[in-house]
Every structure is written in C-alpha cells, then in structure tokens.
C-alpha cells in the first residue's frame, strides 16, 4: 500500500545481481558516499597528473635544483626527490599513479621540501584542526543567526527591521571577505586600538597548554574571534535573505493554513510546519558555502596570521613546496567533500521525500 518502496523492487525475471545493484544504488546514503569518494579520487588524480605532466615539472625542477645547489649526482638527487614527492620514479607513469593512490590511502603524503624532515601528514595534522574549528564554528553561527533573522524578517515583512536587515545583508554580501578582514584590522586594531591584534595572531598564545581547560578555550576563542566574525559577517547575509524568501513562500502553503484550521498553537506551526519546511532549500546553499568559506580561509588566515591549513597552503605555494602544497590541497578538498557529505546526509534525514531512490 505504501507506494514508494515498490519502485525499488526489480521487475520479475531480472537476475538477482541486478536486484542487488538496484538496492545498493537506490540507497540514498550509499549514493552520496560513493559520490564523495569519487570526487576525492578525481582531485587526487588531477593533482598527480598536474605535478607530473605540466611544463616546468616540479619534480624535474627540484632534481635540477638539488644538483645545482648541492652538487649531488643525478641518481641520488632523483632518489631524494622520489621520497619527498612520495613517488617511485623508476616505474612507468601509470604504476607510479597507483602507487601514489595507495600511499595516500595509507596516509603517506610525502615530505616537505622546505622544512627538511617534516612529514606532510604531520604538518597537516598540526594545523588542520584549527581551520576546521574556525570554519565550522563560523558556519554554524552564521547559519543559525541567518535563519533566525531570516524567519523574523519573513514574519515582520515590510517592517523597518526587514528593510534594514535586507540592506545590511546585501551590503555585507557584496564586499569581498578579505576586504572586510582588512577593514576590521585597520579600524578595530590600528586606528581605534580596540583590540590587541598583534597579540591575537596565531591560533593560540605561546606557552599555552592545550587541554579542555577554561583558560585554553578562552584563549583559543580570543585568537579566533576576528576570523570568525569575518566569516559570519560575510555569509550571514545569504542565509537571511534566502530564509526570508523561503519562509515567505512556505507561509502560503496549504498545510500551514490547514494547521491553523486544526487549532495548532502558533509556536508549533512556526517550528514544525513552517520552519522545518522553509529550511530545506537552504541546504543546497549550505554545501556551496562550506566550500566557499573553507576556500576563503586561505586569505583570511593570511590576513589575521591565524595558523591554520589555509595559511600553510599559501606559504607552501609561495615557497614552491610542492609536496606540502599537494597534500594541503588534497586534504582541504577532502574536508570540504566530507563536510558536504555530512550536510547531504543530514538533509536526507530532515526531508523524507529525498530518501526514496530516484
């Protein structure tokens, strides 16, 4: 009697293998996870071939550099390069490629050129959490603030609050985030000296012991507050405006009016009937904004001198430290893909219409 599950049943007569295939690919979770893995694989492949095939091949360049600088024989230079870039240069390209993939799967991302002896994976592990914390905290705050304000604007349509927030939202949305970061530093830090920005550099104060102490948490927040404000200020406008439009549209739906006909309380209608349905369209935007904010961390962290993976990537790029660059880029993308996957799965949980196989 329940209509939807019938669509997944294979036509009689097909082999059981096809049936298994259908039930696997029909499953929402499996499809999303597969798509995520595919993207990460595509990025890894792209970086590999970029490094190896582009003119001005970094590996060859590095070997030449070693020979010129240290007078090493070619074979030794080649071995060093091979270990640093974590590829085996003797093998044909495709074998190198699979070796590279295998190493990545095991977590071996090579060694840094600039910082001798440092494993790329170690560098990333040291700095990635700070970025994830900063970006994650900002996204969450921005989202919640945005949908709250957006809903408010929808309920109080055409009021002074509505106009004011619309204008502010559009304004903040158009100015690039790094410019806002600069403005914050210039005015709050230098001109009016409201904040000790020099002390706010870095992700934590020197000498502070990491741990779940109040002092540590406060210190971390102290250092992260400016980047967080920048991220929130530049993204909250989108949420506000989209949520306002979405809520306005949802308020006109039949089931909302019917809920009032049934005598439900205003509070219940606002949350479970309007709110939950209005938030749904925002999720696609949420996945886009994860990538945007994470990507923007490159600039924001450089401006605020916040020691996160974004800043490491910039340093690696300027210093032509290819293994670190490769690894950072891969991990950054993987983080975004993973976050998108979580958001997708969450969406599937919230909107039951999506769970059915398409």
């Amino acid at each position: 009697m329940v209509a939807a599950s019938q669509s997944l049943a294979p036509a009689p007569g097909l082999s059981p293998l096809v049936a298994v295939w259908h039930s696997v690919t029909g499953n929402f979770v499996v499809r999303r996870v597969a798509k995520a893995l595919l993207t990460i694989w595509a990025v890894a492949t792209m970086t590999f071939f970029l490094v190896r095939l582009m003119p001005g091949n970094p590996i060859e360049q590095y070997i030449g550099q070693l020979i010129a600088q240290y007078g090493l024989p070619y074979a030794e230079a080649r071995d060093m390069a091979a270990s640093l870039f974590s590829v085996d240069l003797d093998q044909p390209l495709m074998v190198q490629y699979f070796g590279y993939l295998g190493k990545i799967a095991r977590g071996d991302l090579g060694m840094s050129i600039k910082s001798q002896g440092a494993k790329v994976s170690d560098i990333i592990v040291a700095f990635l959490p700070w970025t994830i914390f900063c970006v994650g905290f900002s996204l969450l705050t921005s989202f919640i603030l945005g949908i709250a304000l957006g809903a408010l604007m929808a309920y109080w349509r055409d009021s002074v609050l509505d106009y004011a927030l619309t204008m502010i939202g559009s304004l903040l949305h158009s100015i690039p985030n790094y410019l806002i970061a600069m403005i914050l530093i210039i005015f709050l830090g230098v001109r009016w000296e409201l904040l000790p920005i020099v002390k706010m550099r870095g992700s934590m104060s020197p000498g502070m012991q990491p741990g779940f102490t109040v002092a540590f948490v406060m210190d971390v927040l102290f250092h992260a507050v400016l980047p967080i404000i920048t991220y929130v200020v530049t993204t909250v406008g989108t949420w506000m405006l989209t949520m306002k439009a979405s809520t306005t549209a949802t308020l006109e739906e039949d089931y909302v009016n019917f809920a009032r006909a049934k005598g439900l309380t205003d509070g219940r209608i606002r949350t479970a009937y309007v709110g939950r349905n209005a938030v749904l369209p925002l999720f696609t935007q949420f996945t886009l904004s994860i990538g945007f904010v994470f990507g923007g961390s490159v600039l924001i962290e450089s401006i605020f001198v916040y020691r996160g993976i974004g800043q490491i990537l910039v340093t690696a790029v300027s210093g032509r430290d290819y293994p670190v660059m490769q690894g950072c880029f891969l991990i950054t993308t993987a983080s975004v893909v993973f976050a998108n996957l979580l958001a997708d799965l969450l969406y599937g949980y919230i909107d039951p219409r999506v769970r059915v196989g398409q």
């Binding site: 019917f258 006909a261 049934k262 005598g263 349905n277 919230i350 039951p352």
Partner: protein, 407 residues
C-alpha cells in the same frame, strides 16, 4: 471490513466544554479592547448549531475591492448536511473559510454574524478572541481542506500530525493520542499501522482524503466542513469516500457542510442544497426541492449541464457566458447576462432571497425553499414542462444522479 466498530468519543480536553464559550479574560493590556462574543442563545431554535446572518467578505486587490461573499445567511441544524454548490470563483470556498476565520490576510469580513450554538450556549465566532478561536477550530468545527498533497506537512509522519492536533487541544498523553489515531484510521478503512507511520507523499490521493476525514473526527466536532472532498479523486475512490461519509454521518450525527461543484455529490449526501453564484446563495432548499423543483435559472442551468448516461442523446446545455467581475458588480441581478429568463426588471434591482412557498421562511435552512429571482414561478413552470417532455425520462432525480456516480 470491520468498519462498523463503535468508536469511543474523544476524551474530554483539558479546556473542557468552556473553550469557545469561555467568558473573556479579566486580564487585559490597557490599550486593547475586549469583546464579549457570547450571544443570547434563547432566540435560536435548539437544533440549530450554526446560524449565519448577512456574512460579507471582501478583499482588496490593486484594481479595487473584490466582493467575494455578499450577505449570505443560512441555518444549519444538528445532523444535517448542507451542500454549497457553485462553479469556481463563486465564493463558496471563501464562505467556508470565513466560517472558521481562515481567510487570507488581504480578505476581511466586513459584515455579518456566525453564531455557533451548543448545549444552550452560543457565541459569535467572528468576534471571539484568538484563544477561544483556537479551541473552536477543530474541536467544535473542523474544516477539512481538499486532499491535495499540500494539505499535510510533508516532513512529518501522519501519526505525528494526529498527535499534534491532539496535543494542541489538551490531550497530553501520547499513548492515548496514538491509540485514538489508530482507531480513527481503522474507522476510515485504512491500514492503520502502515498509514500512521507513513509520510504524506507515500500515500495515494484517496488515502490522503480519508486520513484528512479521520483527522476531522479526532475531537468529535459538532460541525464538519468538507472542501471539495471528491474532486481530485478517481471514480472508484470517490465511491469509497462517499459511502464512508454517509456511514459516518449516520453514526456520529455531526452537521456537515459540503463545498463542491459536483451535483452528484450533493445528491448522494446532502439534506439541503444551496446554489452559490457570484458570492451569494441564489437558491436553497431540500434535495428534492432543488432537483425536482428548481426556481432559479442558475440551478436549472447546473442541472441541465449534467450529461445523461441513459436516455436519448441530446445536446449539452451548459450555462453560457462567464461569471461576473466581482469588483465591478452590476446594479441589477448578477446572473442576468447569462440568463434565458431575464427581462428589463432584472436590470434595475438585485433580487433578494424570497421563499418560493408563499408565506414560508425566507432564511435558507431546513423547512424553507428560497430563490433569488424575480421570475421564479416562470422558471419553475418551464422546468417542470422540461421534465415532462418525452426526451428526458429520468433526468436529474437525486437517485438517478447517484446511480450515475456509481457506474
């Protein structure tokens, strides 16, 4: 099917029976005015549950004011079924929405009273406060929307939506609410467990309509309003729903207002039929009166527009023309442009509802047959001649219409 089981009545809600009849709260903010909506119930006959007088609804659009409902009056008695029949845009849905005050923001009730009576106590629904209104809705009067996908919240399971209603009206025990939900779903002949755990998009149109009807019965209201209950459904499902409604009516004795354009539906279920045109009731009478002795040209037109399945093939006479512009209504009868009986008298004045039987009551309701036409007797005679002519042997008798629906 075990649809015949007697169902317990709704557990008394915490607000008890005083909900909509509660006296206005003594606490109020200094700048608000409190209106006592209670009405002297002694003037109303005991059986009348809903008494509407001069209800007028208008809403503003850029071009002007749309007169959606114009001075509608009727009496609804306990256990009676009133069908409001009209084409789209006639104002019948607006009228129904006005009875529970669910109009869009732009629309306003500019005149009239809607008096609701129970156990000797009466209130004017149009003037009750928001709290009392919330208790009134669904508890005393349930308006069931059309069963399009959008009537139910797409992200909540059916069970949760029932429990929402129960909780909003004082039924705080979740287990009791769940049990009652299953009971009601069985009553409307659905697979209770399965449907309760489903989402709205997983149900077919007929199933959803039955879920909505079950939801309407949750609190044992005295009045149920059904908006186009069979419109979106196929013939077979329509039959199921109609039979279900007939049975429930007999068992529960609620008063029912059916809003539809489908005459066959009225023939099946209604005791009283009112035809609605351009925001007004143009004729109202018992089912037999309307189908055998129509007195208004519009009613005749509607009857003639139903094609016969039996008898000789004859050309379809639908009502020619378009409904009038509700912003710019003519001074005279609004049906005149489409009326085969119109004369110059009809231009000068808009006919009011008068009793067809000389000396009879002029308010639509049981025991009256009223029509808003200056030429009502002419129309009636012309129709009875039409009935007697050879071509039409079984035209438009209520049973014949009902049979047509079944085949």
């Amino acid at each position: 099917m075990s649809g015949e089981t007697t169902v317990s009545t709704a557990p008394a809600s915490a607000t008890g029976g005083t909900g909509v009849f509660a006296s206005p709260s003594r606490f109020r903010l200094p700048w608000t005015t409190v209106v006592d909506a209670r009405v002297d119930g002694s003037k109303l006959p005991k059986e009348v549950v809903l008494s509407v007088r001069d209800l007028t609804v208008a809403y503003r659009v850029r071009r002007g004011m749309v007169q959606a409902v114009r001075k509608v009056s009727f009496d609804l008695r306990r256990g009676e079924t009133l069908a409001l029949i009209g084409e789209s845009g006639s104002g019948k849905t607006t009228l129904a929405l006005a009875l529970v005050r669910l109009l869009v923001r732009a629309a306003k009730v500019t005149d009239g009273t809607v008096v609701y009576q129970r156990d000797g106590r009466a209130v004017d629904v149009l003037r009750v406060g928001t709290d009392a209104l919330r208790h009134y809705r669904w508890n005393e009067c349930a308006m069931v929307f059309q069963s399009a996908l959008n009537a139910l919240n797409p992200v909540l399971r059916v069970r949760e939506q029932f429990i929402d209603v129960a909780r909003a009206h004082g039924m705080t025990n979740r287990a009791t609410a769940e049990a009652r939900t299953l009971e009601l779903l069985k009553l409307v002949q659905l697979d209770a467990e399965r449907v309760a755990g489903s989402y709205p998009h997983e149900l077919s149109g007929g199933m959803r309509q039955r879920v909505l009807i079950a939801m309407g019965l949750l609190l044992d209201p005295q009045v149920i309003i059904l908006d186009e209950p069979t419109t979106a459904l196929d013939i077979l499902t329509q039959r199921t729903v109609i039979d279900l409604l007939r049975r429930l009516k007999a068992e529960r004795q609620f008063a029912l207002i059916l809003v539809s354009h489908d005459l066959a539906l009225a023939a099946e279920l209604a005791d009283q039929v009112a035809t609605v045109y351009a925001g007004r009731i143009v004729e109202c009478g018992s089912v037999a009166d309307i189908f055998y002795r129509p007195n208004h040209p519009y009613t005749v037109g509607l009857l003639n527009a139903v094609p016969t399945l039996s008898g000789d093939f004859r050309s379809l006479d639908s009502v020619r023309g378009q409904p009038p512009d509700l912003i710019d209504l003519p001074r005279g009868c609004s049906f005149l442009p489409r009326c085969p009986f119109g004369t110059s008298d009809c231009e000068r004045e808009d006919p009011q509802l008068v009793s067809v039987v000389p000396g009879g009551p002029a308010i639509p309701g049981a025991g009256s047959h009223t029509a808003a036409c200056f030429h009502a007797p002419v129309v009636a005679k012309s129709f009875s001649r039409h009935l007697q002519s050879a071509e039409v042997d079984e035209i438009a008798s209520p049973d014949a219409l009902a049979d047509r629906g079944a085949r």
